[in-house]
């Protein structure tokens, strides 16, 4: 009787350990560490005006992603790309205000920080039809709190068809322009990590 309980307890503990082990191995987003101080350390590669929800997405790249960028090649190992989402300033009619170039103007409030980062060997745990080799995705609050309940598989599915731009919608296209790449390399050179 005693022996049997012991076996059962061991089995239960093992099951817990295994399930924990599996959870840890598949908790991909946790591999991405919040990039503290990105606003001064990263290089901005623009601002997306989102018309359907009147928000502004300020785009940032880690400086090595810029300095090590080579036209026609995969983005460098360690590359981190980031979206800082803010509401757009609105007029009395509730519509976004436009500056002289027809651009939205961001409010100070930050709605969320969306990150994609690549490192050799990452993302191997996902099924082939969604995985973006070697990219992981994560979402944070501006204070660095991880939004642990966000399912990041839709991030992968939607970025998947952009394989020829190394799973990015914007960054690779901005950098493929030699003038942008030169300007951004100059900016990255001035950043202190």
């Amino acid at each position: 009787m005693k022996a049997r309980t012991a076996v059962l307890t061991t089995a239960a503990a093992l099951a817990v350990a295994i399930s924990l082990g599996v959870t840890v191995a598949s908790a991909g987003p946790e591999k991405i560490e919040y990039p503290k101080g990105y606003q001064s350390k990263f290089v901005s590669f623009g601002q997306i005006d989102r018309y359907e929800n009147a928000t502004v997405r300020i785009l940032y790249a880690s400086p090595e992603a810029v300095t090590n960028y080579k036209l026609g090649q995969k983005l460098p190992d360690g590359t981190m790309l980031l979206i800082e989402a803010r509401p757009a300033k609105k007029g009395a009619d509730g519509k976004p205000l436009l500056d002289a170039n027809g651009r939205f103007m961001p409010e100070d409030q930050i709605l969320g920080v969306f990150v994609q980062q690549k490192r050799k060997g990452w993302a191997t745990e996902y099924p082939e039809n969604i995985r973006n080799p070697d990219w992981e995705y994560a979402v944070f609050d501006i204070d660095g709190t991880r939004r642990a309940n966000v399912n990041t598989q839709p991030c992968m599915s939607c970025h998947k068809p952009r394989a020829t731009d190394d799973y990015t919608f914007v960054f690779n296209r901005v950098m493929a322009d030699s003038k942008n790449a030169a300007d951004m390399k100059t900016m990255a050179g001035k950043k202190k990590m």
Binding site: G46, I48, R103, T164, R173
Partner: protein
């Protein structure tokens, strides 16, 4: 003093010239901004090469049978309009000269270019 001969001719010419300049400027200021229609049938922008002048509106209409998502990755022109459903139109006023690419976030091969002149 009466104007005669050459003096009269010169005055008339000057008046005509300044009227011409005024008209020209006026015409420029009054140039009605146009709306340029772009379709999306068969998951392809039509036309693919879009020409516009500063102040014009580009009206992307989803005349297709599936949802589209207009987005512009070009630095300085970046915009995005998610979830453009069948029958919906996304209107973009172009305020800055230059040229930019227009993609669709749903269809990786759906592209157009817009060239904006003064």
């Amino acid at each position: 003093m009466l104007l005669g001969g050459k003096a009269l001719y010169r005055a008339a010419l000057a008046a005509a010239l300044s009227a011409g300049v005024a008209l020209g400027l006026g015409a420029d200021f009054a140039r009605a901004a146009s709306e340029i229609k772009v379709g999306m049938g068969g998951a392809a922008y039509a036309p693919k090469a879009i020409k516009a002048k500063v102040g014009d509106t580009i009206a992307f209409t989803n005349d297709d049978f599936t949802d589209h998502w207009v987005y512009v990755p070009t630095l300085g022109y970046q915009v995005s309009r998610a979830g453009l459903k069948q029958g919906e139109t996304f209107k973009l006023v172009v305020a800055k000269p230059g040229s930019f690419d227009v993609g669709c976030a749903v269809h990786a091969n759906m592209w157009a270019t817009v060239t904006v002149e003064r």
